[in-house]
């Protein structure tokens, strides 16, 4: 059998057991991990040999459906395999290597986000080997760029790398931090790009290219020089970026944060209020992040239709009108061509009186323009007002504009 002899070749090679010595192309490719089924004899495994579509993760026999990845099977069964680059709705890239697991018989650790479950597969999600690899991977991330300032970092409390460092007790002290390679970019109204925090997980690239399909950013350069770039590696404001902020929502660290993130309450300090966007007709579901009676951030709700987390620039960043100093706060009455402030009673009494006079004198001489901007309840009340109080069907709104 071809595979057994190949495996025996690895086993006899002292370096091969460390997962080295074979070139990219082929051997790895076709190694069926199932071949190792007989290596150990534990009871569960023997039972499983005759069952189709089941596998073992951390000693638990689990069923799966065709095409499910190890990660999906694990998550469905509340086995917490950590991930970082994995982005829902996008093709798994296997880039960050945080979700690696040990698959018996496989030559190297495998990324659980990309490998489909197969019958008889035996997986260890937290073996010493796995933990060792994760710790080194996290260590390498923590010492790339600058990750030593959580105390003043806007993403603190809302940072996947911080969570991972905590979970695996990694401090980022083994190597000298590689420091700032590319300068921070803040030359646009919405998004701050801090490359010293970027761990090149690629979630932003996928959010931009696979979720929103705006294709404004991509990987640029190569190797240690790799950087997330726009066209011509220009600033976002001079690129094809449409500032939908999908990348900001996807960024697991603080490489992409709202422009003013350092000046306003951190996401983790705010309270989220779920609501519907008030711009176009898509009706995106969004969270308004509130603290001290003020909206500081807006994020898309990931679990529900119709937008599943996506927003556009207006929905995500066009909320400063709420707290605008130009808001009308008191009724105004025009006298001699100029407005003066008035009390609610005065303004409403005046209005009621004039409407009554005009409507009383001429049928259908009063009209109401209700609004495609206000709620159903308010539209209902407006038309009810026109029809029952003003006794007219002269009600319309700008449906046609």
């Amino acid at each position: 059998m071809w595979h057994t002899y190949l495996i025996s070749a690895f086993k006899t090679n002292p370096l091969a057991t460390r997962g080295v010595c074979i070139l990219p192309t082929a051997v790895v490719s076709f190694l069926p991990w199932q071949t190792s089924l007989n290596q150990k004899t534990d009871k569960v495994r023997l039972e499983m040999e005759h069952k189709d579509k089941s596998m073992i993760i951390d000693g638990r026999a689990l069923r799966f459906t065709e095409g499910e990845t190890i990660l999906e099977v694990a998550r469905r069964n509340h086995i917490d395999i950590p991930t970082l680059c994995h982005l829902k709705g996008a093709t798994p890239t296997g880039a960050c290597r945080v979700c690696v697991v040990e698959v018996e018989g496989a030559r190297t650790l495998m990324t659980s986000c990309t490998v489909p479950a197969t019958a008889g597969m035996v997986v260890h999600s937290e073996s010493p080997e796995v933990i060792r690899s994760r710790r080194m991977t996290i260590e390498l991330m923590l010492t790339s760029g600058r990750h030593d300032d959580c105390l003043v970092c806007p993403s603190s409390g809302d940072c996947r790398l911080q969570d991972l460092a905590f979970r695996y007790k990694v401090k980022g002290a083994t190597f000298t931090p590689s420091g700032v390679k590319y300068p921070m970019e803040a030359a646009n109204p919405f998004i701050l790009r801090d490359f010293s925090k970027c761990i090149l997980c690629g979630r932003c690239v996928q959010a931009c290219n696979e979720v929103q399909v705006n294709e404004a950013i991509d990987f640029g350069y190569r190797g240690a020089e790799a950087k997330i770039v726009t066209k011509g590696d220009r600033a976002l404001k001079d690129s094809d970026c449409v500032f939908c902020g999908e990348c900001v929502q996807a960024c697991p660290v603080a490489a992409l944060v709202p422009k003013n993130a350092r000046l306003v309450p951190r996401m983790s300090e705010t309270r989220a209020v779920k609501t519907t966007c008030s711009y176009c007709g898509v009706g995106c579901q969004m969270n308004l992040h509130v603290k001290n009676n003020r909206v500081w951030h807006v994020t898309g709700c990931e679990e529900v239709a119709p937008n599943h987390g996506s927003l556009c620039v207006k929905g995500r960043y066009g909320f400063d009108f709420i707290a605008s100093e130009h808001r009308l706060t008191t009724p105004l009455i025009k006298e001699n061509g100029a407005f003066r402030e008035a009390s609610w009673d005065e303004a409403l009494d005046l209005t009621a009186r004039r409407f009554k006079e005009i409507a009383g004198a001429h049928a259908d001489a009063v009209g109401v323009l209700t609004s495609a901007r206000v709620t159903n309840e308010e539209n209902y009340i407006a038309q009810k007002f026109a029809r029952t109080v003003l006794k007219t069907n002269n009600i319309d709104h700008c449906a046609r504009l």
């Binding site: 294709e215 991509d218 066209k231």
Partner: protein, 164 residues
């Protein structure tokens, strides 16, 4: 896109634009031909200034960021102007063992350029390249189309003086 006007760039002449338009016409509908189109455009202009990359992206109907990503991934492509003469010093193992480092040092001392750099007067561009597969002649230095094998560091200056 209505491709009815070209961006302005000092290094791209009207004839070059015509040639570029032809290249883009030929390749825009062929899937996967971006790298080929980039190579041909670079052959036309000498390098790939970013406005040209944007133009190629529009012509090929690809995202400009993707085109930039591709252009900066492959070492063949240069986004900066190159010299009239290109020195390619092979940095493969055989040439390394046989002392390419010293040759690079000599060039650096004589012309004040390091790997990847171009002289201000654009006389030379120095590139360290992957194994040229001429290990039998190590160390190897290629100037434009001419292969110079078994190069002695002392000869370097003599060889290069022929290229102006």
């Amino acid at each position: 896109m209505v491709m009815d006007h070209h961006p302005e760039h000092p290094d791209v002449t009207a004839e070059m634009w015509t040639r570029i338009d032809t290249i883009l016409d030929e390749h825009s509908s062929v899937p996967g031909s971006l790298i080929t189109a980039l190579r041909l455009c670079q052959d036309t202009v000498g390098y790939l200034p970013p406005p040209l990359l944007d133009y190629i992206a529009e012509g090929m109907n690809l995202a400009s960021s993707q085109v930039f990503g591709v252009a900066t991934f492959y070492s063949l492509f240069s986004l900066k102007p190159k010299g009239r003469n290109i020195i390619k010093a092979c940095t493969g193992t055989a040439c390394y063992v046989k002392g390419i480092k010293e040759i690079l040092n000599h060039i650096r001392n004589s012309y004040s350029i390091s790997e990847g750099e171009t002289m201000p007067d654009r006389r030379f561009t120095l590139e360290g390249v992957r194994c040229l597969g001429a290990c039998g002649l190590a160390p190897v230095m290629v100037v434009n189309e001419d292969i110079h094998g078994n190069v002695d560091p002392k000869q370097v200056k003599g060889i290069l003086e022929d290229y102006q």
